[in-house]
């Protein structure tokens, strides 16, 4: 796997581990990271050995604290993908923003705030260490909280999202509250976090990669439209999977009481 200045991308078996790696800056996103992330997702997408991706932050303190305010204050900020500046498409931090349909587990290992919330808003599974906290300081530093809360509002109750956006850094949502609200699916002791993420990745790896990728894509795309149109998207996804060898193999393996042998996933 390629090396990066601000990220670590490793593969263990069929699981890729993508670590935001600026621990001295609480894994804040600088210009370099904003451009290395799309490169990392291209790598993940293209690697047929990778079935599942785990996203986490280096060090025990933070997943990410968003765009690096020091760069903004110094006037040296240069975020985003060249050629896309000034457009939403310049923000390409997450798998979803990079249209990578492999399953993503985000392991929140501490602070997760501001732009760091993109990783949670766009994740499939989210687990958190007990000390993880979630908050959105944008308005407190004179910025608009205009993307992360919109994504979050599609995956949890609305009141806590508005609360987070309006109270800025003056209040933090605990991991326990995030679990109650269904923002995260599990809370684990910090020393267990990554181990648990790998366990979940292995469990996801037991299912059909094609069925999971098609299901994931249909679920995300369904959120782009009204419910009736969403069901149309779903039906087309069901039709597209019909006749896929994994369907037959799944039924056969079940009858023969053995592990299924899935087709490798080829993404466009």
């Amino acid at each position: 796997m390629p090396t990066f200045e601000t990220l670590k991308l490793e593969r263990r078996g069929a699981t890729a581990l993508l670590t935001l790696h600026r621990p001295e800056r609480l894994n804040a996103i600088n210009g370099v990271m904003s451009r290395e992330l799309p490169a990392a997702w291209r790598e993940v997408k293209a690697d047929p050995e990778v079935a599942v991706v785990i996203v986490t932050g280096a060090g025990g303190k933070a997943l990410s604290t968003g765009f690096d305010v020091a760069d903004v204050a110094a006037g040296s900020a240069n975020f985003g993908v060249e050629g896309e500046k000034g457009k939403l498409s310049s923000v390409k931090l997450t798998a979803l923003q990079n249209r990578c349909w492999k399953p993503v587990i985000t392991a929140v290992n501490g602070l997760c705030c501001a732009g760091g919330l993109h990783f949670v808003a766009d994740s499939d599974l989210v687990i958190a260490a007990e000390h993880a906290t979630f908050f959105d300081p944008h308005v407190g530093v004179g910025l608009v909280a205009g993307l992360e809360p919109i994504g979050l509002a599609r995956r949890m109750a609305l009141e806590p999202v508005l609360r987070m956006a309006l109270l800025a850094a003056r209040e933090r949502m605990s991991a326990a509250r995030a679990f109650e609200l269904g923002l995260v699916g599990e809370v684990v002791p910090r020393e267990r976090l990554l181990e648990r993420a790998f366990e979940l990745a292995a469990l996801i790896g037991e299912g059909s990669p094609a069925a999971i990728a098609t299901t994931k894509r249909a679920l995300w795309e369904s959120l782009d439209v009204g419910l009736s149109a969403a069901l149309g998207i779903g039906q087309r996804a069901i039709d597209s999977h019909r006749g896929h060898p994994d369907g037959r193999e799944g039924a056969l393996a079940f009858r023969e009481k053995r592990k299924p042998r899935w087709q490798p996933l080829v993404l466009e």
């Binding site: 599974l125 996801i204 037991e206 679920l219 799944g250």
Partner: protein, 282 residues
């Protein structure tokens, strides 16, 4: 009408409530081709019956609510390929099993009496109110079996936190929710002992039937239809319903009169709205 795989029962104590039981307990109430054919007929019968104002759907026996497609049967045939012409995007689903897909138009309470797995989730996703017995389990092994998990789960993604839906569809058979987790996630609103489940579901249904059936039909209709569009447009649609209803339905006047006269209202049943119907017509 008679059915092989379903039961429809009525109870004198709750005259406007019908209970639809998925009745293949030896197969954990999975749908076979007979049930797939009978369900649309049953929903049509329940829609047409003017004495039915609310429906409870449950599974026979104490083991399972419904476990989805019966894997002992071959899958249903593929629908004919879509014409290559520039047809508008398809909406809705090809397999029509649920009250929403079959346009029942009346409130539905799902009483989850045990295992609810895979395609069985469609009844939970499409119900208005969901209650569960203490032994209920929610799981979805479809991707574990090489199948996509889309029927039911796209509507679930509008009802409960998204992370939970991804856990169900990606972890497959390894992810099982207890009734308590389903309650925490807002998927179910009450947990009751197994022996009391049906009675409680009927009691909730009877409570709903104390209100104007037409007002209930149009309220749930407006809420579900609102999910088809953005909020601004949804509120415009909602206004058309709110504004048009008292002009089209005598229940609005009767409700006010009964309230002032301190008596029970005498509601007048009217046919429920159809999917896509925008506003009550005077």
């Amino acid at each position: 009408m008679s059915y092989q795989t379903l039961r429809i029962e009525r109870d004198e104590a709750a005259p406007h409530v019908a209970v639809l039981t998925l009745d293949r307990p030896d197969r954990m109430n999975a749908f076979d081709s007979v049930m797939r054919a009978e369900l649309p007929r049953a929903w049509e019968e329940l829609r047409a019956d003017t004495t039915v104002w609310c429906v409870v759907v449950t599974g026979a026996g104490e083991r399972a609510f419904c476990t989805g497609m019966d894997l002992r049967e071959p899958p249903p045939p593929a629908p004919p390929p879509a014409a290559p012409s520039a047809t508008p995007p398809r909406t809705g689903t090809a397999v029509r099993l649920t009250p929403l897909d079959c346009d029942l138009g009346k409130p539905v309470i799902a009483a989850v009496n045990g295992m609810c797995a895979g395609g069985g989730l469609v009844f939970v996703a499409d119900a208005d109110i969901v209650i569960a017995s203490e032994n209920a389990v929610f799981t979805d092994a479809r991707t574990s079996a090489g199948q996509v998990s889309i029927a039911g789960t796209l509507r679930l993604a509008r009802k409960i936190p998204l992370e939970a839906v991804f856990r169900l569809v990606m972890l497959g058979k390894a992810e099982r929710w207890t009734a308590m987790r389903a309650y925490q996630l807002g998927l179910v609103s009450e947990i009751v002992p197994p022996g009391e489940l049906l009675a409680r579901a009927k009691a909730i249904a009877a409570t709903i039937c104390e209100s104007s059936p037409s007002a209930v039909f149009w309220s749930r209709h407006a809420i579900w239809e609102s999910l088809d569009t953005g909020l601004g447009e949804a509120l415009e649609m909602g206004w058309d319903v709110v504004h048009g209803f008292p002009r089209a339905y005598p229940d609005a006047k009767e409700g006010a009169r009964a309230f002032v006269e301190k008596r029970n209202p005498a509601w007048e049943y009217q046919e429920p709205p159809r999917k896509g119907e925008r506003a009550p017509k005077a």
